[in-house]
Symmetry: C2
Subunit: 709 residues, 2 copies
């Protein structure tokens, strides 16, 4: 019997299944005790009705009163915004002991899936084979903008999205309920929620209490509304049951969430471009920027605070890239992809009909990436020039807005459409809060210096008058000194005032950054068109690629992640991070105490240390480990955007909150690996223990139907 | 039956057993298949006759022709000394394909234990209770010098040492055969022998091929002799059998070697001084010096080479200290020691007779360390002032020699006695080879700067004329510029010429560094006397401490390591370096490939990579791991000086060469821990595989009685 049960359990497998595919899965054969109909059900409610997208993260309802659990790193901005030197909620944590004490989470919103439909035919009808590649891209963009706009008109208070599932092949229209009154309920102190900081980021074993509770509100009549004191808690169609007993090693688990982007269906050409060109360039640049910012913050606490967000973001990306580069090298990924493609090419060439349709397919894809590689110095300089300077990117937005807003809504670049413009405005305000002039100036100087030494034929000629030629450093410094002194974009009022104004108005402003943006604008426009052409070409080619791969491998594929709701399943499972090391999939409080140094990022609150020393584990003690479990490791298939996703046990009850991957699993975005693909959740037992024993918020446990510790 | 067999295996235990204790051990009950008489035997030969001390390391004979195996890091200096830019043996490795091709290992010597005897009574007869502490120290020093000198006179060609086993309590006289014609046979390239470099140092999992072969030679008549082409290989009384089949997890193993220093019998006062004062001071200073040197070497390859040895030495010490500090904190070592001492004090106070003899014992020890703590700023500045500058330490030696050599041999400080003086001279020459002026000057400036800001009452007044007072930096810079410009000690001929000259001669030289040394000399003399007084006091107190501890705990103790031959045993065993991580005790070639980046310290030779890819493991394949084992981990009790020690299987055959400890085991020097104390060897299977498959030196395998791969 036992042996049979074991055999019944299928091997863990790659796969972020879109909602449209869930009904095809035999979940019981994977060890789960739920059926597809328990997850998604058009007539009744399913688990997906409890899942929300909260900005770039995922969250889930855990009470009938709209209580949402997500990651600390997805929600702490809500309390950061209202923190002061006296009331530093990020440092001390924030706990509302009643609904009246909750704080509005400005700028936050949640989306809940309401319906989805396949719109591939409609989207693809907008293009035909006679179109030039760039024209093809534009036609699809326009069609999608039209569909989204009309869907939102038809369903007020909803947000619509058309998501590309397979490039150039399949499209889905999602309609989301969109709630904008979010409030912070419990955000643990940074010393718990960010324990380990950058050191531990992308690492296992992990001891980060990366969770927070927020609550969604609606108007008294139940409709979505902006914040208002009179709003009432949202009553979700479905909320997750909390499983305070947690899970054990080898238990089956699954995740519902919004993974951002993966690139597994791309070819070796793309991987080689990423491995050899873009990621090393970005990782080195970020490393330099981080070091420069850390230096600036060393003896300047105010600067350190302003720069911390940017450092964190860059460090996160850099470590991800370094992890990917290591993983690609270790797996010989490009080489493997090339071998697969060689086999595919052999299959194509074995049949004259296939040769006709697919014979040049891989070669043609390769040509696009060859072009990208040979232009990479020029293109990467342009990309990171704009990205490196907050002021320059402000000026761009302002300048571009003056051109885009003149057009009809549907003709604009998406960011400037009426449905998106308020959010663009909000993002400028947020950026300006962390503006730090010395860093901004240093980075712009660095990028202009890089532009100056670009070889002939690859130069950004628009810059020549400013940067001079190699050897003359004075020109850049002089320009920057004057530009930073005289620009008016550092001032929020001026900045927001300029946004949306006409070209004539901007000309009169005579701002050095806007002038610089105007000078560079044709280069960026040209690059955008180049990319539209490449995308148009690749869109067709990738569509053919999936066709022929399906013929060759005789199976269906799962589309790459694209920020739409996905299901992934597997087991609680350790791994071997390197020769002679084995990682166990459950960490405990002991590890927190071991890591604690008293200094950031290992400055555990004394109360937590005392609770540990007193072995005050309550009902959340793991019997075998004789300790409270803190984090869980499992072989599910996740990526960025899955942050905050509920980790669910076989019965679909929440046992953890997903927040990261192991270092070796950064490679996930390019290839799933049974050996290395491991994701990380904060254990629900730690969540409940902290909330009850540390924070004293047993009322929240009660609301979730869990007895106190 | 099985259960009984398991119970029979004693728990691994702390203990570096001196040769005098080995006969008391029941080795068979520890899982070994040898008896004490197989290890040490005054009538026949024993395993200890195959063990040598090779400078600060251990080695062992592995053939009847005087072939010695030790660590790469213990022997690579032999080929470094004869390397040139064209023939860089350190980089490429060195292999003699016949005895004629071997290279003299200048400056190397080996010592083989010939006899030992307990001389406690004789040594202790030289002191009496009426002596003042410093007088007591001096009397013992003199007695020991006399005994050593007369033993060496009696046994020409031998080296004698009197080693203190328990402070102020027990002493042993060792007589060593002393061989000075050593030759390099096979030293693998640095990319194997130092694989992982500083990154992996003090770390597990490990993949360093830290082994080398040298050969000992004697005069044609079999007596010890300096290098001569006509010398013949030394025929050891005993050599170790090589076990090419290696060991497995949980196999019993033991080590014979020369562990340097441990401090486990010291009290909490000593540990607190180390934890709070000395180690943080030294680790921070070393870290700064390392960073400065790395910076200097960044764009200056010649400087980088000159500084590499010093960087390596400091980095090794710094990482050891940091590891110890982490371990002490994690184990709460000082607190634990305090608790033990409180229990001991309670025991003492329970009996009026004990109170009389031991009542103030712990308090009196504490007073010495209180004094050291309150003088630490002054004393550490003096210590590291001399240590930081090669030129200043040269000047000291030269100046001190002028005073010491005037005295009768036995009255001199040990380094200046006739039996040691040639070695002192040699060490100056070696130091000068790596002299790098900018670093030397920077470090001296730093230490003078630290001296300048010492508080009143703790100042090195002899320096006042040079360093001025805080705030006036000009004085130091001016002094240093002139001193480094005009000193003659940078020149080898001048330096050696000055060494041994009279004070009058030195006066006439008018060298700024010798003048500085002369100015500081009284301060150092005073510090030396202070320390003699403390040692004299502690010598008596520690002797009493061991007495009362024995009464209290009713057991015998093993003395702290003191560079004499010791036995330690245990098992091949992994450990948990941290919460949720488990380390397996055998690493493999796979790990080398995983770590390889192509850049130092992970620049594996292509030939090794090719052998791995071809799975050309020969007979050294580990069946379960399907790979060649590279390094081994075990719970034996080792410390510095055990480097190069043979790791022996139950039958006393060599299965590895000990070379390091795991990071958490740096704490070993202060306290042994069943959880953390783990040492590391290079696996004999890797040694043989590299020697055969990589180097093609099957003749060496033949000489060791091992069939080729």
């Amino acid at each position: 019997m036992f042996v049979f049960a074991q055999l019944n359990i299928a091997r863990t497998e790659e796969g972020m299944y879109p909602v449209s595919e869930i009904h095809k899965l035999n979940l019981r054969s994977k060890g789960l005790k739920v059926n597809p109909g328990d997850i998604i059900n058009s007539r009744h409610t399913g688990l997906i009705d409890a899942i929300v997208q909260i900005d770039g993260c995922t969250g889930s309802f855990v009470s009938p009163e709209g209580l949402i659990i997500t990651n600390h790193h997805c929600a702490f901005g809500a309390v950061q915004a209202v923190s002061t030197a006296e009331k530093d909620y990020v440092k001390s944590g924030f706990l509302a002991m009643s609904k009246a004490e909750e704080i509005p989470a400005k700028g936050y919103s949640v989306r809940i899936i309401e319906s989805y439909s396949d719109v591939s035919k409609e989207v693809l009808a907008s293009v035909n084979d006679s179109m030039a590649p760039a024209e093809r891209s534009k036609a699809m963009e326009m069609k999608i903008k039209q569909m989204v706009t009309s869907a939102e008109k038809e369903h007020p208070g909803r947000r619509a999205e058309v998501s590309e599932m397979f490039t150039g092949k399949s499209y889905m229209l999602f309609l989301y309920l969109y709630l904008k009154d979010l409030r912070a309920v419990y955000v643990p102190p940074r010393s718990i929620g960010e324990f380990g900081g950058e050191n531990d980021n992308w690492m296992w074993p992990r001891h980060t209490g990366d969770f927070a509770f927020v609550r969604a509100y609606v108007a008294p009549d139940g409709t979505p509304a902006e914040y208002s004191p009179g709003n009432i808690p949202f009553h979700p169609k479905k909320y997750l049951k909390v499983a305070p007993e947690g899970v054990q090693e080898n238990d089956p688990v699954f995740i519902l969430g919004y993974p951002g982007r993966t690139y597994r269906h791309r070819t070796s050409h793309y991987m080689a471009y990423e491995e050899n060109i873009r990621m090393p360039y970005a990782a080195d640049l970020f490393q330099w920027e981080i070091a420069a910012m850390e230096n600036m913050g060393k003896n300047d606490h105010a600067a350190a605070i302003k720069l911390s967000g940017r450092i964190k973001g860059l460090a996160n990306a850099m470590k991800n890239y370094r992890g990917k580069l290591t993983g690609m090298k270790r797996l010989g990924l490009v080489e493997k992809k090339r071998e697969d493609e060689k086999a595919l090419q052999d299959f194509i060439e074995a049949d004259s009909k296939r040769i006709k349709t697919y014979g040049n397919l891989l070669g043609d894809i390769g040509k696009i990436y060859e072009e990208m590689s040979s232009h990479s110095e020029y293109e990467l300089t342009l990309d990171y020039l704009r990205q490196s300077s907050t002021l320059l990117s402000f000026a761009f937005t302002v300048y571009e807005a003056s051109r885009e807003l003149k057009k009809a809504d549907l003709d604009r670049e998406a960011a400037y459409m009426d449905r998106n413009f308020p959010r663009l405005k909000e993002s400028l305000t947020l950026s300006l809060q962390n503006y730090h002039e010395p860093a901004d100036k240093l980075f712009l100087k660095e990028m202009l210096g890089r532009a100056r030494v670009l070889p002939a034929g690859r130069r950004i000629s628009a810059l020549d008058s400013i940067i001079g030629t190699a050897g003359s450093s004075g020109a850049i410094e002089g320009f920057l000194d004057s530009a930073y002194r005289t620009t008016s974009l550092k001032n929020e009022k001026n900045l927001l005032d300029a946004l949306g104004k006409s070209s004539e108005y901007l000309d009169q402003m005579n701002d050095p950054f806007i002038r610089l943006a105007a000078m560079l604008y044709p280069s960026y426009q040209e690059l955008r068109e180049t990319r539209r052409r490449r995308e148009g070409t690749l869109s067709k080619l990738f569509s053919l690629l999936v066709d022929v791969k399906q013929q060759f491998q005789k199976k269906d594929f799962i589309p790459d992640a694209n920020s739409t709701l996905r299901l992934t399943f597997g087991r609680i499972k350790g791994y071997s991070p390197s020769d002679a090391l084995n990682a166990y999939p459950i960490t405990t409080l002991r590890g927190i105490i071991e890591k604690t140094t008293g200094e950031e990022p290992y400055d555990t609150p004394q109360k937590l240390i005392d609770l540990y020393k007193a072995k005050n584990f309550g009902r959340f003690r793991h019997k075998k480990l004789n300790d409270v479990p803190v984090a869980l490791l499992y072989d599910l298939d996740t990526t960025g955007g899955n942050s905050g996703s509920p980790l669910l046990n076989a019965k679909g009850e929440i046992v953890g909150v997903n927040f990261d991957r192991a270092y070796e699993a950064t490679i996930n975005d390019y290839a799933w690996s049974e050996k290395y693909s491991r994701s990380i959740a904060v254990d629900i037992r730690y969540v409940l223990w902290v909330t009850s024993k540390f924070a004293g918020a047993d009322y929240l446990l009660g609301e979730m139907g869990v007895r106190g510790a």
